[in-house]
């Protein structure tokens, strides 16, 4: 029986599997890196070989350029393959398009790295899959009991209700360029919103990629195609960075909304000047973090980043051997944590 600590350790470059000789979501250049998803805090450039799902590799190329690594290996969900002395498989994490949990096995022991994940429904990506294991390496971005998220469709209904109440104002929705923006577009399309959805140019390449992958985002149009003053009553999707820079001021009496898990705490929303907080998150909330820790049946819980202390405390009370890893570098560039830093 292999010990879980033999399968996965922590090095200055991040999580490392000695018997497989690879890193996972390395924070600096390494010979071989397995990537859970394409957010830039997990998918950095500068590695020799990168192993990931096709979508993650495509998005890394879009964001980092074609030369982001020397060698790529595409992995399909559920497909098991050998790396060194271990067997590895990728499983849906439900976080964004192409996101995966990574399972490592040897001699009947299994460690699963969640990357970032969520359990809530998302029409733009494959739903989370529970993979039982001996040690679960979990995120804890929203690892406090104050983060129990409401139904995302009810949050979207708030946006549509506000638009009906203020038909002369432009509703500008802050949403991270990769994942959240496309999810909000798709949710609007699913909700039957029949106006064009306007977007900030920074979202263009990834929206086009999602559309190429067969995800119908509705009638989406770049803001550059219109005169800003004509967009009264319309919905515009913008990056959080653009909102901080006053980009929304070009629209008629703009009403600033933001789609993020941080919006669950009203004080946070006020600090960043949001008028219409929409609690739509691509991360697991507290109930989902706790439920997942139980569902995977792991005796050990390693908490990589986020609000680690409360989750470790809770897991310990449940009889799970839990400890924080506090990996430096995760959560810095993903849209949701970045907003917390700004706040």
């Amino acid at each position: 029986m292999t010990r879980t600590s033999d399968l996965l350790t922590l090095t200055p470059a991040g999580l490392y599997c000695p018997p497989g000789d690879f890193h996972i979501d390395a924070t600096r250049g390494v010979p071989r890196n397995l990537v859970t998803h394409a957010h830039s805090d997990h998918a950095r450039g500068g590695h020799q070989a990168v192993v990931a799902t096709e979508e993650t590799l495509d998005i890394m190329e879009l964001r980092l350029g074609a030369a982001f690594c020397r060698q790529r290996q595409i992995v399909r969900y559920g497909e098991q393959f050998a790396l060194g002395d271990v067997r590895v498989s990728f499983h849906p994490a439900g976080h964004i398009l192409g996101s995966a949990q990574i399972a490592i096995e040897r001699d009947g022991s299994r460690v699963v790295v969640s990357g970032d994940f969520k359990r809530a429904a998302d029409p733009t990506c494959t739903p989370f899959e529970v993979v039982t294991c001996d040690a679960y390496v979990t995120e804890a971005t929203f690892g406090l009991p104050v983060f129990a998220f409401p139904d995302p469709d009810a949050e979207l209904a708030k946006l549509l209700g506000s638009r009906a109440l203020f038909p002369e104002r432009t509703h500008v929705v802050g949403a991270y360029a990769l994942g959240k923006a496309q999810r909000v577009m798709r949710m609007l399309a699913v909700a039957g919103y029949d106006r064009p959805i306007w977007y900030h140019e920074a979202i263009a390449p990834l929206a086009a990629y999602y559309a190429r992958r067969g995800i119908d985002l509705g009638d989406i149009r770049p803001v550059a195609d219109a005169s800003p003053k004509t967009l009264a009553g319309e919905i515009v999707i913008a990056t959080p960075g653009a909102l901080k820079n006053g980009w929304a001021e070009q629209f008629p009496d703009p009403l600033i909304a933001t789609a993020s898990g941080w919006m669950n705490v009203r004080a946070r929303a006020r600090q960043v000047g949001v008028q219409l907080p929409l609690v739509i998150s691509d991360h697991a909330d507290w109930p989902a973090l706790c439920a997942t820790a139980k569902d995977v049946g792991a005796g050990e819980l390693w908490v990589t980043h986020g609000e680690t202390e409360a989750l470790v405390h809770w897991a310990t009370l449940q009889g799970i051997d839990a400890r924080p890893l506090d990996i430096i570098g995760y959560g810095d560039e993903d849209g949701e944590p970045a907003m917390a830093v700004a706040a």
Binding site: P145, A267, V274, E309
Partner: protein, 156 residues
């Protein structure tokens, strides 16, 4: 109470005077009597409640939530009303949320001894927005930023 709580929540995010007025006008136009009357009284600061203290709510919450998780949460959120709203456990079966007039009339007649049980019953019936606003109004007696106060502030 739910419509009033939603109004307060929205008002607290909306800086523009005319937009605040539209929100209030929509509330007054759609809510029945006597709720909208009490709503107006609450907005103008004319309602006062006895027996309700932050200490009582802290005690009620500590009976329901792990103290370490409460402290970490309160530290993160900063505001007691919001922490209470976010941590108050979901009841197994949510009762009907009280109407604003029910809250006001009951508070006038409830004794100090009976108050904790009454407050618990209400908080069990409210969703998070309602709980936060109930706490703000009943316990914390938080002043609302109404258009009139905005004008006063602008004049300073």
């Amino acid at each position: 109470m739910k419509a009033f709580a939603t109004l307060l929540d929205r008002l607290s995010f909306e800086p523009a005077r005319n937009a605040k007025l539209r929100l209030i006008a929509t509330y007054l136009a759609t809510e029945p009597d006597p709720d909208r009357g009490y709503g107006l009284a609450a907005l103008t600061g004319s309602l006062k409640f006895r027996h309700a203290t932050p200490k009582l709510v802290r005690v009620l919450l500590r009976e329901r939530v792990d103290p370490v998780l409460f402290n970490l949460s309160h530290e993160f959120v900063g505001d007691l009303s919001e922490t209470v709203a976010l941590l108050w456990p979901e009841p197994e079966e949510r009762g009907d949320p009280p109407s604003l007039s029910e809250v006001v009339t009951t508070l006038e007649t409830t004794s100090r001894a009976a108050f904790p049980a009454q407050l618990t019953l209400w908080l069990d019936g409210l969703d998070r927005v309602g709980t936060a606003q109930a706490h703000h109004r009943i316990v914390a007696d938080r002043r609302l930023v109404t258009p009139r106060q905005d004008r006063a502030r602008a004049g300073r």
